[in-house]
């Protein structure tokens, strides 16, 4: 019996290992394929010309392959969406985790869940038929614009930010919160000075995931961004983020054009990796600060 038992343990462990390796291999395969397909074009065009070029005319007689306006568009739309979404999402998370009575929280939580399960093409169509005309009517311009992308992406990443922030706020040890009350802090002070700093890592990871979704979103963005390859002078100008470029032109591309689109994918890949690394470094710093918060609280309660 004992031997069978150990064999089973081993087998189950191997199955787990195998499952974990599937994701590693998938990542490796995608990365290798992406670079193998995209690198030839980048080398031929020149990395500097490709990344900082301002003109994108792959089918012109004198083709040019510059994707800087698209990098700019991806960065601007993501940054805008995060700036809009984080304060709203965080406030909602605080409400759900600490303020709302459970009946209200139980009403809001399913709505947030439902919001995250709407397919992105539905978001896109909503954006095209509601947000775009509204922008065009009240703010002017064509309506298909950077602003439309920002608003749409902000709504799309809201559930991610709310869910993960709420969970990390709930995970703050109750001793710390009680300690704060015991020191005479009000509820608001406790939320802003104790709970949010203590849940900092979790909140940051919610922002990272939100950024990931915003940068990678394609279908909804294509429908509302207008797809013009230009550096927007205002939020009312049309833009084309990198994902939209790939999806829009892939089906018609000749081999070299296709390789340039894979090159866009490489830049996107590096872009997301860089954002993740930067935020991870930042989050490391904030965790460091957390460590110093806790002893202070402890000392005071002891004193």
């Amino acid at each position: 019996m004992g031997i069978t038992n150990r064999k089973w343990e081993k087998a189950v462990e191997l199955i787990f290992l195998f499952s974990a390796l599937i994701s590693v291999f998938s990542l490796a395969a995608i990365t290798v394929y992406l670079f193998a397909r995209g690198f030839p074009a980048i080398r031929e065009i020149g990395a500097i010309n490709f990344i900082f070029g301002m003109e994108w005319n792959p089918t012109a007689d004198n083709p040019s392959y510059g994707i800087f306006p698209m990098i700019y568009a991806s960065a601007a739309s993501t940054a805008g969406a995060v700036i809009l979404s984080v304060p709203v999402g965080l406030s909602a998370a605080v409400l759900l985790a600490a303020v709302a009575p459970s009946c209200l929280a139980n009403l809001i939580r399913p709505c947030v869940d439902l919001l995250s399960s709407i397919p992105s093409v539905v978001y896109g169509y909503f954006g095209l038929t509601v947000i775009v005309p509204l922008i065009s009517e009240y703010l002017g311009g064509p309506g298909n614009s950077l602003l439309a992308v920002i608003v749409l992406l902000a709504v799309m990443i809201l559930p991610t930010i709310i869910k993960i922030s709420e969970n990390s706020l709930r995970a703050v040890p109750v001793e710390i919160i009680r300690g704060s009350y015991a020191l005479g802090a009000t509820k608001t002070e406790t939320i802003f000075k104790v709970m949010i700093p203590a849940a900092g890592t979790g909140i940051l990871s919610s922002i990272i995931l939100g950024i990931g979704r915003a940068v990678g979103e394609t279908m909804a963005v294509i429908l509302v961004c207008g797809n013009a390859v230009q550096i927007p002078r205002s939020v009312l100008d049309m833009v084309r983020p990198m994902t939209a470029n790939i999806a829009l032109e892939m089906s018609y591309a000749d081999p070299f054009h296709e390789s340039a689109l894979f090159g866009t994918g490489i830049v996107l890949f590096i872009f997301i990796a860089a954002v993740n690394i930067i935020i991870n470094i930042l989050s490391g710093r904030i965790t460091g600060r957390n460590m110093s918060v806790q002893p202070v609280l402890k000392n005071r309660t002891e004193g």
Partner: protein, 320 residues
């Protein structure tokens, strides 16, 4: 709880973990059944692909067999005949209707159409991934390879469209070119009301884009043009914005947009056949002379029939 189930799960646990349970029952069950499910799915998938491969091989052997086939095997080949067509999204609208009529007459032949663009069609035909390619422009010299045939089936007309509320009804050809190049940016410059022109174009590489650019004599479409990814979203854009201008294949026109005349000439049938209206492009079929004859001859023959011509002429101009 029914006793049989308790017994079963107890037995299962003993089998897996011996007498001392170390994992909660539920989790063991979930993991185990999950894995079983996974394996079953994999087996089913691999089994079905395996059978499909065998089927393919059988048919190929039949087709390449130089000896005359008896009636039975001819029937077998005919029943499984599939024509694959890939290519231009604009042309696909027409070819889908044609294919339906063709399949009604020839129920033993199945036509599969994939709308994925003109360039994809050339790629697919060259790689023998498709029997036919639908192409919505004239092939460039370097795209033709020896043995590739190109037959024009229909003429498609590109209509320049504006919002119905726009009072513009006619534009000169060079005004259109200037608008699309970004040299004219306000409707007042071409006799309209004072509002900025919202230019809508198509994505690089689309057949409609390339045809329009060369037919209207536009060197480079302005950078601030909106780019849409299909005839449908083009119409949506023009219908939704009062100051916009766009171009679509005639087959897509609906009453939410207004077709304008160019140099005073409307895209009517007579004007197109007289070559007065010049924004037209061919819808052609490309294929290799040497190909699998699984119903492709019948399809080509059908495309030249009167029935096909009457279908084509509903929205397009049949080629002479």
């Amino acid at each position: 709880m029914d006793p049989a189930r308790i017994n079963l799960s107890g037995c299962f646990n003993r089998m897996v973990y011996g007498q001392n349970k170390r994992m909660p029952q539920d989790m063991v069950k979930k993991v185990f059944f999950g894995l079983v499910n996974f394996l079953v799915i994999i087996i089913i998938i691999s089994a079905s692909t395996a059978t499909r491969n065998i089927d393919d091989r059988d048919i190929k052997i039949d087709e390449t067999d130089p000896t005359p086939l008896d009636a039975g095997s001819v029937l077998l080949v005919k029943n499984s005949a599939v024509i694959t067509i890939e290519g231009s999204t604009s042309a696909a609208v027409l070819f889908e209707v044609l294919a339906e009529a063709f399949m009604e007459k020839n129920p033993e032949i199945k036509v599969e159409i994939m709308a994925n663009g003109t360039n994809a069609a050339i790629k697919a035909v060259r790689n023998y991934n498709a029997d036919f390619g639908m192409v919505s422009r004239h092939l460039k010299a370097n795209e033709k390879t020896p043995g590739m045939k190109e037959i024009i089936i229909a003429w498609d007309v590109l209509a320049v469209v504006v919002n119905p509320e726009n009072r513009i009804g006619n534009l000169q050809r060079d005004q259109i070119s200037a608008i699309y190049s970004g040299r004219i940016t306000n409707w007042s410059a071409v006799g309209g009301s004072d509002m900025p022109i919202h230019v809508i174009s198509r994505e690089e590489g689309s057949g409609t884009y390339q045809a329009f650019r060369s037919l209207a004599g536009i060197e480079k479409v302005t950078r601030s043009a909106q780019v849409t990814d299909g005839n449908g979203s083009m119409l949506e854009g023009v219908a939704g914005k009062i100051n916009s201008i766009g171009y679509v294949s005639m087959g897509f026109i609906n009453n939410r947009v207004k077709v304008i005349s160019i140099d005073g000439i409307y895209p009517t049938k007579e004007n197109i056949l007289n070559n007065l209206y010049t924004l037209k492009r061919p819808f052609s079929l490309i294929y290799y002379e040497q190909r699998e004859k699984n119903g492709t001859d019948e399809f080509i023959e059908f495309l030249h029939s009167d029935e096909a011509r009457s279908i084509i002429s509903k929205k397009y101009i049949p080629a002479e």
